[in-house]
Symmetry: D2
Subunit: 261 residues, 4 copies
């Protein structure tokens, strides 16, 4: 059996090293945001990078019990009060394409657009307009803009401001701003949502597309944990009642039905 | 249908508030450790509390691909390269009673011991000896002490030192130190492991037992994310080979077997 | 690295054997219920045993979208339309102690009660009364009796009748009937629910307690699959709206809050 | 709040109906394969259809502890001995694109190919050759053919034979046979694997693509259950040792590293 290769961490009897740094030292002086950055980039962040990581994780930490991830976690907690890990895992599983997953799609979109921009020496405004036109033609939603509960996502401005102040704003943010403008011109005002803002920042920090969804998960797990604790402490088991409307076949006899088509 | 009650967060069209604090402000000035504390305690931490939260989350962030949580996450990632949330969730699910779950059991143990100590005005040394004797008599393992790969867990000392320096060391740490001493006397040297150290600190910070496992999950998700990215980027699908030894029934005919007992 | 031992199945280039039987032969002549039995008991079932396995799996296959398992699966499907495995897994995770998990607890209860009955040569009626008295004294719910939506579970009678007709009714069914009678005498009429009925039948078929929850999962996965397909085909992404009532802290300024206790 | 719509099942105080059939009647006379078919097709199967459903579920029920789904389930069971649902869920999560998920991709491939075939009045042989050529040109693997451990999948022949005997073989099987022939001509002999065979049969039974992965999950959960029980009963907690080779950064000091890029 071949060993599993890893470049992330190692340990001996008295030490654990993450990317070569002694965990005991990291515990004494680093922050969790540092470690999230270190684990995924292989080096410690600068002050400005750390601030952006903290801001991104905080941005997605919680959005109330009604978001699909929290609703799934609490529903599982309602039937399963002995295994909090089951509830947290169910919440993570709701972070798919439609919820939180826009980060991944948006990071991919930015990455493709910038590759195109460089290859054809076309400015981001032109590329952004083309992306919007293609989405309209194909009747596809654009990832990273629009939000079902916010007409202007309060988290986007903060992230972009922190990136600019820290000297870290780059093509990712420029492209998303151009995309928002192009969409407003030819579709309707659609604000850059938190997934789009995080995707832009992650692009500018040099992360690969797969990270898009993972940062959302890392931040949201903190909120899911609080939601699950609240379900356990404030509610009784099985309290969730879903109103159901049945519109299937009326009662029928089995014999007639047992024959196939 | 009754609404779901929550005291954690709320939002309107332009704001999100966590425990009453505007997320935009938190993003600009707080750290993720602050938010983890805030979500579970309902108030912002002091400097010393924040340092302990960071230290606890970093302590459990990663322990290599061979820990059950990382191994489960990578095994799922090996068969499922399109859904990183599935791999992370599988990793979370491995955080049960035997792996990471000692935190919960240990926090419960400390909580019960201190209740007993107060009720009977007995000092922690005596209580700790009693707990060890009962565990030996019942042939039960004590949660929070002993580790399969470390004879002295490098993370415990750092946590306790930070708690003492910050003026936050209390009964939780005192009890675990007494438990380690009592175990060394009557069983063998068993170091306080990271689960036990975190349980002690969480007790001294005033968290309820359920938090024991949840802090482990919040911190470990960062490492699981890095492990999953490494699996995707360095390894091909389905690369994991498990050596198997079959010791069940030899090939047999169905007819004879179709009859029951 | 030591190989993983298994006595369940093995294969070579051209064959797969489950418990020694060639899968190609099983596919041509056995039923899925046979294989569920075979996988867990190591032999093929008799006709009467197969009927009971089918009846148990059918009994739990679906209970509408409002059961916690289906609600969790559909909530995840609502946010994650690209990974049906995530939705099914979330549904499975809701099968905990409070939902479906009574099977495990009830099988354990029957097993303990019958051990006691044999050790003390006490009849099941007496044991059942004692169990009810102890549960009342400890203010604990009895697993396997009572149901939140049925005053008489329509599935229990069928299972017990099939067991009796097939000559397979034994101590498990006798004990549950005695428990229902004892509860009716000293608490109130509480029908044996499907978890209790399945636990009784599994006990009489010679299965260990852990199987209690697993049979529920195997059967329910079929219903979860149908629920997830219905969510995908009839509903749009993110359609689930949870009514939420926030009762936490009012908006407050960060500065004052940044200081600890 | 709008009620959740469902056409699958409903219940009152004394009944549960699946697709209009009384569960008590189904339990007394139907098989689990009938219910799997009923839940997904809305009618009871014919004899030949039921045989195919049984054969498909049995075909995927178990493939030893080394398949990613079983390996994930056992790894989670190794760290989490108190929550079997967590282990089963982790196993389900490994059923992604690379493991078991070929069914979904293959059903989609068949569906697209037959749409093309009908639209352009082209025979399946020609379409199959085109599909193979396109896959070669794009350097993509074809779903449903080839297997990492079988040069000829023993389950494919049985399924196709049952479909032909039952008069249910149609375009799905015809296309997969043509695809296997086309691949053998221009690539190399690649047997139709169980995922491809099931996809062909599901297509011929009139199921939509999403079912491809779901049938695999329904069948495999039986095997996962047996694998988890075996892990609990034969092995001790945390017994899984993964051989690891670390090739990341050597130990380094934190100070120098704290500065960013």
């Amino acid at each position: 059996v071949e060993p599993w290769r890893t470049a992330i961490s190692t340990w001996d009897d008295r030490h654990i090293w993450i990317q070569g740094y002694d965990v005991a030292q990291l515990m004494a002086s680093a922050t969790f945001a540092d470690i999230v950055f270190l684990l995924h980039k292989g080096r410690m962040p600068s002050e400005a990078e750390r601030r952006l990581v903290d801001a991104m994780l905080i941005a997605v930490a919680d959005h109330g019990p009604g978001s699909p991830s929290a609703a799934a976690a609490r529903t599982v907690a309602s039937g399963n009060r002995a295994a909090p890990e089951a509830a947290i895992a169910a919440g993570v599983l709701a972070i798919g394409d439609a919820h939180g997953g826009a980060g991944l799609a948006c990071l991919q979109l930015i990455s493709d657009a910038m590759t195109q921009s460089r290859a054809s020496a076309t400015d981001v405004t032109t590329i952004a307009r083309r992306v919007v036109d293609e989405a309209r033609a194909g009747n596809r939603r654009l990832p990273g803009i629009g939000h079902r509960t916010h007409t202007r996502d309060p988290r986007t401005g903060v992230l972009f401001e922190l990136a600019r102040t820290g000297g870290l704003a780059g093509d990712g943010i420029a492209f998303m701003v151009a995309l928002e403008a192009a969409a407003a011109e030819s579709i309707k005002p659609l604000p850059i949502n938190v997934d789009g803002a995080i995707a832009a920042v992650l692009y500018d920090l040099g992360f690969p597309p797969a990270i898009g969804k993972l940062f959302f998960i890392i931040g949201r797990v903190a909120g899911l944990s609080a939601q699950v604790v609240e379900e356990y402490t404030r509610e009784r088991a099985m309290r969730i009642k879903i109103p159901v409307a049945y519109d299937g076949p009326a009662p029928r006899e089995l014999d007639s039905g047992k024959v196939g088509p």
